[in-house]
């Protein structure tokens, strides 16, 4: 079992991160995880057990759509892409996060 990092994801933020990641273009599951880890300097670790169910759930909700593309290994890979609905959702989640973070910061970082 991987050790729990102090930066374990807050509930609900994974969806927002996936949406944000896909906003720059279609990616497969591993690439999404890798991007989030790299972009956060490995402070955010994406667990497979959460990532894939989240992808299927978001696809079902219509935020993502998938198609077969080619992976780095030359094998076919399932590529996820943001839908219009997904973009709207991303905007909503970003706004919500901004509010939440501002609120938390006001308390935790108060002098």
């Amino acid at each position: 079992m991987p050790a729990k990092t102090p930066n374990a994801l807050l509930h609900g933020t994974l969806d927002a991160l996936i949406l944000k990641t896909l906003a720059t273009g279609a990616r497969h599951g591993y690439a999404i995880a890798k991007f989030i880890e790299d972009a956060s300097d490995e402070t955010v670790i994406v667990e497979e057990g959460s990532l894939y169910p989240a992808l299927y759930r978001m696809e079902r909700r219509g935020w993502l759509e998938a198609e077969w593309g080619e992976s780095e290994l030359g094998r076919r890979a399932k590529l996820y892409r943001l839908t219009r609905q997904g973009r709207t959702q991303l905007a909503a989640e970003t706004a919500a996060w901004r509010q939440f973070a501002a609120g938390v910061s006001r308390i935790l970082l108060a002098q």
């Binding site: 079992m1 599951g29 894939y52 169910p53 299927y56 079902r60 399932k78």
Partner: protein, 900 residues
């Protein structure tokens, strides 16, 4: 759109999709670790252990994926349907004339069906408005030996009812309402106005058995009926609202009925009325009069079965009790058993239920014809649209896809027709009360245009849409590309043309069937209208009025029955003195079977004795000398009553022709003595009366198979409280007499209700009302059917002529005469019409027997009716074929060729 495309292009099974995706992830992650310098095997282990339970992850993903796919399929299906509907609406808007004609045709059919469904729903389907209404039954007495005037469903003796209630094991209780007792007493409203109100007299548990919850106060309790008389009443909601302004303090208040005080204990909803109208309910004393005969039957019994008890079990139970009563009281109960019916069918009556079914069947045929006409229109349109469809199929639309599209079009069309039809149905039901005769529907039957009818409309529309759309859609989709694109596709319409001919022949058959039905019912109505009523007075000049005197009571104006006579005497002289009154008479009954006193047993003196329970019955009527005079009812033998037939003179009676036919055949009836069993007392001490005259037969209710057996007794020798006045007017309309008569009676006794003013013609019309209703309804729908058939014939001929324009042109160019061309067109029309007519007549002959209960004086295979239908049809077909035939003869060969 992309989302729905996905499932078309992506055919990877879900399991494989998940497996591949995760395998790739594991591999890429492993490679990442290897690049950082780890051993491949260790790297892979680390990756796998990081994932943990791989199986669980896969299962979760497959599960989510399955839900995703299901929803996507649904969304895609809905998207497609939505697209179809939008496309269909565009198509229909592009052809407004076609759309209007088709939608209106369907609206007519669906509207008529919704109205008739509302009737059938009220009489056959909708449960009565009582809790657990399926446990409510009506119980009748029936004689197992003779045919009583009531058939197998006769009224119930109160004493038998008491014994049933005490001994049975199947009923929670059996309650009853009295038949023909009470009349309509005058009810004084708070403002002092007197108006007669319909009353039902019921036993104490009547409302409890029905499960009626009072709006105010309470209903009857057995304790209320403890005495020999009762002083409480329950009021109906309608009376409470209209006469008492819905005053909530009515409970406990005293009201006066014919001047007698009663206390209102509660108000009940109007649906408690059941079969007969009632605005107020009074209570039958629980204590039966000591001298009441067990043979006296005047109750309509309503029982509530215990939970889980079937009608069969209850019937066996009560029959066993009836058998033991027959042994114990053989003089009154021998050969008497019971009949039990579900309450709904007992109240609605077989005739009404069959009428609604019959009318529903009739409008069903009309709807089928509407479908046929619209299908015809669609077929014509489909061949015009052949090219469009061919192009679409060339572009890759599959046949099922095209059929689905065309079906959607017809369903959208049907929905449009259905929406209009709901409107038409609602209008029909708004005017229905004026069409539906008052005595056709019992108060418990409520015709309402509610959700049930609308659901029916919706279902009918969809069904109809599929029905008329399927064949045209299939036909259109079958067309091959080459055929459709090769300019004028003559060959493709061949099959369609044949199918359309079959449709039209079917329409003709249905129209013929309905016309035959309408014809038979119309003949019945005419025969009934022309039937000799028996009396000779002009029905328009004779007004009838209903009188109710209060029961005899010491210390009142009417201490005994004789005192009624002085009322009748003073009333007679007051009314005779009014201007415009020519003749007047009094009687307990009227022509057309309005019996009030019921059927009495009699025995002819000198004939072999008959057991009391099996003695014959006659409709017992009381009449004064003026009655026969006013009705101009001929006395065919002997004499009429005179002023000399007083209570003190010899007891006499007059019998009618049916009495003589059945019981005195071949004998001289005058002078024969008859022992007539007094109705109310026991032990029986019959009064012997001598027959002094024979009256002409009066007809019974319209459609009654047997002439009623009647026996008249002088009013002076049998004074009754409930009578009918007959007045003949001269010089003034009969209705002008009502107000002066009311005023004159008010001066004699202001507590006497004078109700129900109707002329003899009104009575005659009323008895024919159900027949007129059926004849009018079926006639109307048959007319509509004929029109539809005409449109069908015209449509198919006009189309055929247009298709064959070139052929006619060639023929005319080659020298064919007008007659030759006419023969061609008319010949093809005649084939269709004659085929349809033959099928229709055969069907009518087979089905007319099913309506024989609605027919009177006319055979189901009446040749006059069938021949008339043939003539009407031939004329109609001629009119429909005229225009296309004329067009065919006018084809200009040059024009015909140029069109190519």
């Amino acid at each position: 759109m992309k989302r729905s495309l996905r499932s078309w292009l992506w055919r990877v099974p879900l399991d494989q999709e998940v497996d591949e995706e995760i395998a790739l992830h594991v591999e890429l992650r492993t490679r990442e670790l290897v690049e950082r310098g780890l051993d491949p095997k260790i790297a892979r282990d680390i990756v796998l252990s990081r994932i943990g339970d791989l199986g669980h992850l896969k299962r979760t993903c497959v599960d989510l994926g399955r839900k995703r796919d299901r929803e996507m399929r649904l969304t895609q299906w809905l998207d497609e349907r939505m697209g179809d509907v939008k496309f269909a609406i565009r198509q229909l808007r592009a052809a407004p004339a076609f759309t209007a004609v088709a939608a209106l045709t369907l609206a007519l059919g669906i509207g008529a069906n919704s109205a008739m469904f509302a009737l059938a729903d009220a009489t056959l389907l909708r449960p009565l408005p009582f809790p657990q209404a399926d446990r409510l039954v009506m119980v009748w007495e029936r004689n197992t030996q003779e045919r009583s005037p009531w058939g197998t469903r006769g009224p119930v003796s109160p004493i038998n009812l008491r014994d049933w209630n005490e001994q049975n094991r199947s009923f929670e209780a059996i309650a009853a309402t009295a038949l023909g007792i009470g009349g309509g007493p005058l009810l004084a409203a708070p403002d002092g106005t007197l108006q007669s109100v319909d009353r039902q007299t019921v036993t104490a548990r009547f409302f409890e058995v029905l499960g009626v919850t009072p709006i105010l106060g309470r209903t009857f309790l057995p304790a209320d009926a403890a005495g020999a008389t009762t002083t409480v009443v329950v009021m109906g909601e309608g009376t409470w609202r209209t006469r008492f302004g819905a005053d909530p303090s009515i409970v406990g208040r005293e009201v006066r009925l014919n001047g007698q005080p009663f206390t209102v204990i509660g108000v009940v909803p109007d649906h408690a009325q059941l079969a007969r109208a009632a605005g107020i309910w009074s209570l039958m004393p629980g204590q039966l009069p000591p001298n009441l005969s067990r043979g006296l039957k005047f109750l309509q019994a309503i029982g509530r079965l215990k939970p889980g008890v079937s009608i069969e079990v209850a019937h066996a139970d009560l029959s066993a009790i009836a058998d033991s009563l027959a042994q114990a009281h053989s003089d009154t109960n021998k050969n008497w058993g019971v009949t039990i019916d579900p309450l709904r069918s007992a109240i609605m009556g077989r005739e009404l239920q069959l009428t609604s079914l019959f009318l529903l069947g009739v409008v069903g045929f009309v709807l089928l014809m509407c479908c046929a006409n619209v299908a015809n229109l669609l077929l014509a349109r489909a061949s015009a649209r052949g090219r469009e469809l061919a192009v679409r199929s060339a572009l890759g639309a599959g046949r099922t896809r095209i059929v689905a599209q065309l079906l959607t079009e017809s369903i959208v069309l049907a929905a449009l027709g259905g929406a209009l039809g709901i409107g038409i149905g609602a209008v029909m039901l708004t005017v229905a009360p004026t069409l539906v005769p008052a005595n056709l529907l019992p108060p418990a039957a409520k015709i309402a245009f509610d959700g049930r009818v609308q659901i029916f409309c919706g279902a009918a529309s969809i069904l109809v849409g599929v029905l008329f759309g399927l064949v045209p859609a299939w036909q259109a989709a079958r067309m091959s590309l080459v055929q459709a694109l090769s300019s004028e596709s003559r060959s493709t319409t061949r099959g369609g043309g044949r199918f359309r001919s079959v449709l039209v022949a079917g329409e003709v058959a249905a129209a013929v069937l309905l016309l035959c039905g309408a014809g038979l019912l119309l003949r019945t109505l005419l025969i009934l209208g022309n039937a000799e009523p028996g009396y000779r007075a002009d029905g328009d000049t004779v007004m009838t009025l209903d009188f109710s005197l209060p029961p005899t009571r010491e210390g009142t104006r009417y201490p005994n029955a004789q005192s009624y006579l002085s009322f009748y005497d003073s009333a007679s002289s007051a009314i005779r003195a009014l201007p415009g009154v020519q003749r007047i008479g009094w009687a307990s009954g009227l022509p057309y079977g309005e019996t009030e006193l019921g059927y009495w047993r009699f025995e002819i003196i000198g004939d072999p004795p008959v057991a009391a329970a099996n003695r014959p019955l006659a409709d017992f009527q009381v009449a004064d000398p003026g009655y026969f005079d006013t009705l101009n009812l001929p006395i065919v033998a002997g004499r009429t009553f005179t002023e000399n037939d007083r209570s003190t003179s010899a007891l006499v009676c007059i019998v009618n022709e049916a009495f003589v036919r059945r019981y005195l055949a071949g004998r001289n009836p005058i002078g024969v003595r008859v022992a007539i069993e007094p109705f109310l007392t026991s032990p029986a001490s019959p009064k012997v009366r001598e027959i002094v005259g024979v009256a002409r037969q009066l007809r019974g209710r319209a459609g009654e198979p047997q002439d009623p057996v009647q026996l008249y007794v002088p009013l002076a020798q049998y004074p009754v409280s409930d009578t009918l006045l007959v007045v003949q007017a001269s010089g003034v309309p009969a209705s002008a007499l009502v107000a002066p008569i009311r005023a004159a009676i008010g001066k004699i006794d202001s507590n006497i209700p004078v109700r129900r003013e109707r002329t003899l013609t009104d009575l005659a019309t009323l008895t024919r009302a159900p027949h007129r209703f059926r004849a009018v309804m079926v006639g109307m729908f048959a007319g509509l059917a004929l029109m539809l058939a005409m449109v069908g014939i015209f449509g198919v001929l006009a189309y055929a002529v247009e298709q064959r324009t070139r052929e006619f042109g060639v023929r005319i160019a080659l020298g064919a005469s007008t007659t030759n061309v006419l023969r061609l067109v008319v010949g093809s029309a005649a084939r269709v019409v004659v085929t349809g007519a033959v099928v229709g007549l055969v069907a009518a002959a087979a089905l007319s027997r099913t309506i024989s209960m609605f027919l009177f004086g006319v055979e189901p295979l009446d040749p006059v009716t069938f021949a008339s239908v043939g003539v009407v049809l031939a004329l109609t077909a001629g009119v429909a074929a005229a225009a296309p035939a004329w067009r065919a003869t006018r084809v200009d060969p040059v024009e015909a060729f140029r069109a190519e």
